[in-house]
């Protein structure tokens, strides 16, 4: 598992819109070493054990992309909250507190650019308070 923020350009559907994956993993003892014994997974052969139960917020203003990406993430085993704007993304994060591990952002969100959302998330999640408005 990775520590800190990593920007990956994710284009799982080969669509024209690019998506940015923001990985925020805090070190937790339960994740430790993810050794994977053969035969242990599962009901869903396509799901990755590291993704199972992973809480994700997906932000995309396009309903079609949102639907498909959400399903894709769910197939991986993630628990997905889908929102359609940067603001909704931020409020979903604040109510979920620390349980959200992954935020998938469309770079072109209405009102607030994807990068700005990510910057705000970073500021909120850093060790120092107060919360940024």
């Amino acid at each position: 598992m990775m520590q800190g923020n990593i920007w990956i350009s994710l284009n799982p559907l080969g669509s024209a819109q690019s998506m940015t994956l923001v990985l925020r993993f805090q070190i937790r003892p339960s994740y430790g070493r993810a050794t994977f014994a053969p035969g242990t997974s599962s009901e869903q052969p396509s799901s990755n054990p590291q993704f199972r139960g992973l809480r994700v917020i997906l932000a995309d203003d396009d309903a079609l992309n949102r639907t498909v990406t959400k399903k894709l993430l769910e197939k991986l085993g993630c628990e997905v909250t889908a929102v359609s704007s940067g603001f909704e993304c931020l409020s979903a994060l604040s109510s979920a507190e620390n349980s959200v591990r992954l935020v998938v952002l469309d770079i072109q969100l209405p009102e607030m650019h994807g990068f700005e959302v990510a910057t705000r998330i970073r500021k909120v999640r850093s060790r120092s308070w107060p919360l940024l408005k």
Binding site: L13, A16, Q17, D62, L64, V68, K71
Partner: protein, 150 residues
């Protein structure tokens, strides 16, 4: 048996959509996402596509009617439309969208208008074909949606 006949019809119809170039691998990606939890996922996504993109088509149409064309705006609309079309594997539609965007970049209004007519044609044809396809899928019954020959 009726079921077998229907299943065969589904398979043939589906294959022809690929063979005739209407759909590409992206459609298969959608099929792979379909499961017991969402047994009609593909049809739902396609329905969503046609619903959402209708608005884009109207916007592009209006933008093309202007005396002085805003190519940036047109390109922006088309970028979105192409993205959606790509997501459902609409191969021919996507190809025409690419051509449209090239005309936008070249500032060629006539090329845009001409290509847009072609886009609408392909878009409508695909809609008809997919509607017919899903109808057969529904007739064949739920078991059919589960696994496809790759």
């Amino acid at each position: 048996m009726e079921r077998t006949r229907l299943r065969r019809q589904v398979a043939l119809t589906r294959q022809s959509l690929f063979d005739q170039g209407f759909l590409d691998e992206q459609f298969i990606q959608l099929e792979d996402l379909q499961d017991d939890a969402n047994p009609n996922f593909v049809e739902e996504v396609v329905t969503l596509y046609y619903r959402d993109s209708a608005r884009l088509i109207t916007n592009i149409e209006k933008a093309l009617e202007k005396n002085s064309l805003d190519f940036n705006k047109l390109d922006g609309f088309m970028h979105q439309f192409k993205g959606s079309s790509s997501s459902i594997g609409a191969k021919k539609v996507k190809a025409e969208c690419t051509l449209f965007r090239e005309y936008c970049r070249a500032g060629n209004g006539e090329g845009c208008t001409r290509t847009f007519q072609q886009i609408k044609k392909e878009y409508a044809t695909l809609k008809r074909k997919l509607e017919a396809y899903f109808q057969v899928v529904r007739q064949a019954g739920p078991a059919e949606t589960a696994c496809w020959p790759k």
